[in-house]
């Protein structure tokens, strides 16, 4: 079982084809994950894992749902 990744707005093009079942390495963190996805850390405003706020150093476990959200302020 892998993890599920969701990238919002300007981050959507970085979503891998296997985002619904992405392989997570043992000891994977958000920081190591987004490095693999090629997303600069500064491009992310909000990270959440399983609907709770998370951070770059948060660990990722099999079955987690990861959301990555950029700065969004339009009205």
């Amino acid at each position: 079982m892998g993890i599920e990744i969701k990238c919002f707005a300007t981050l959507a093009p970085s979503l891998p084809d296997n985002a619904a079942d992405y392989p997570a390495e043992p000891g994977e963190t958000v920081r190591s994950l987004i490095a693999k996805l090629g997303i600069p850390e500064d491009d992310i405003a909000l990270i959440f894992i399983n609907s709770a706020r998370a951070y770059l150093d948060s660990e990722i476990k099999d079955g987690d749902r990861i959301g990555l959200f950029p700065p969004v302020g339009g009205g």
């Binding site: 969701k6 300007t10 959507a12 405003a45 959301g67 700065p71 302020g73 009205g75």
Partner: protein, 279 residues
């Protein structure tokens, strides 16, 4: 001796069929305007008093009973301070007027330009070049003259926001861009009132409710402008976010806790997903 507001309300009320069946006493918008002109009282106060007398203002018949008469009284006696009258702000303003929120204090220092036409409810070919505040004042007179509207043509600052928020029950962040959102969140917290906030870019958006002292989106979204510069602000996203903000505003004004307090709902209209996250 001049007629009392209660006597005028009772005299001008009439029997009418009610949407849920049966007959009841109603008060037409024209009657509300007549009593307001005769007594010098705001229409929203007359409507709230009519509801206390079990007379339903016709204008709000179709709010019932999604909004109960008791809730409608709370809305009519409620006050909202809204910053921004652009995309989110225009739609929110119209919804708050139609909902019957009694007192609306709104501010925007901009005037309408052609690139606002894709989404801003108060912007049309007749209002191009007009100040957004003036347009709001005119819209209020057309849509719901019972509302007490104070529309200010100014960009609020750290110095002027506290006075703008003072005395209101709720603050609404309908700003465009990220630059001023954190200051507004801080000022709302200092004023001790809840803040309803929302923003969007392309087909993605979010809505949050920040109770005083709680974390809010402005703390981590930064103050440089965001993804909206690349992705734009199409009308369906704007109206979806504004609608969710209006629904939370009603919930707070009627005295219920918001499920979004301390969190935010993330909306993606491209993949059609809605997810509430805790902050």
């Amino acid at each position: 001796m001049a007629e009392s507001p209660d006597a005028a309300i009772r005299r001008l009320a009439s029997q009418a069929p009610l949407p849920q069946g049966g007959q009841g006493l109603v008060l037409s918008p024209e009657a509300v305007a007549e009593i307001a002109a005769g007594t010098g009282l705001p229409g929203c106060g007359i409507e709230a008093r009519a509801l206390e007398l079990d007379i339903l203002p016709t204008r709000y018949l179709r709010n019932m009973h999604g909004i109960t008469p008791g809730d409608q009284i709370r809305l009519l006696r409620g006050s909202v301070a809204q910053v921004g009258l652009g995309g989110l702000g225009g739609t929110l303003f119209e919804q708050l007027l139609r909902l019957g929120v009694g007192t609306l204090r709104v501010a925007d220092g901009d005037s309408f330009e052609a690139s606002n036409l894709n989404r801003q409810a108060l912007c049309d070919m007749t209002t191009l070049g007009q100040s957004k505040a003036e347009s709001a004042q005119r819209t209020a007179a057309r849509v719901n003259p019972s509302a007490t509207v104070d529309a200010r043509h100014e960009f609020l600052t750290r110095d002027t926001l506290p006075g703008f928020l003072a005395g209101c029950d709720l603050a609404i962040d309908a700003l465009g861009g990220l630059t001023h959102r954190l200051i507004l969140q801080q000022c709302a917290a200092e004023a001790g009132i809840p803040l309803v906030t929302g923003a969007l870019a392309g087909w993605t958006g979010y809505v949050g409710v920040v109770m005083p002292g709680q974390p809010g989106p402005a703390q981590f979204m930064g103050q440089d402008n965001g993804a909206e510069e690349a992705l734009g602000c199409p009308a369906p996203s704007v109206n979806m976010v504004a609608t969710l903000m209006a629904a939370e505003a009603v919930r707070i004004l009627r005295g219920e806790p918001s499920p979004l307090a301390g969190g935010m709902i993330l909306i993606d209209l491209k993949q059609l997903t809605f997810e509430t996250v805790r902050l």
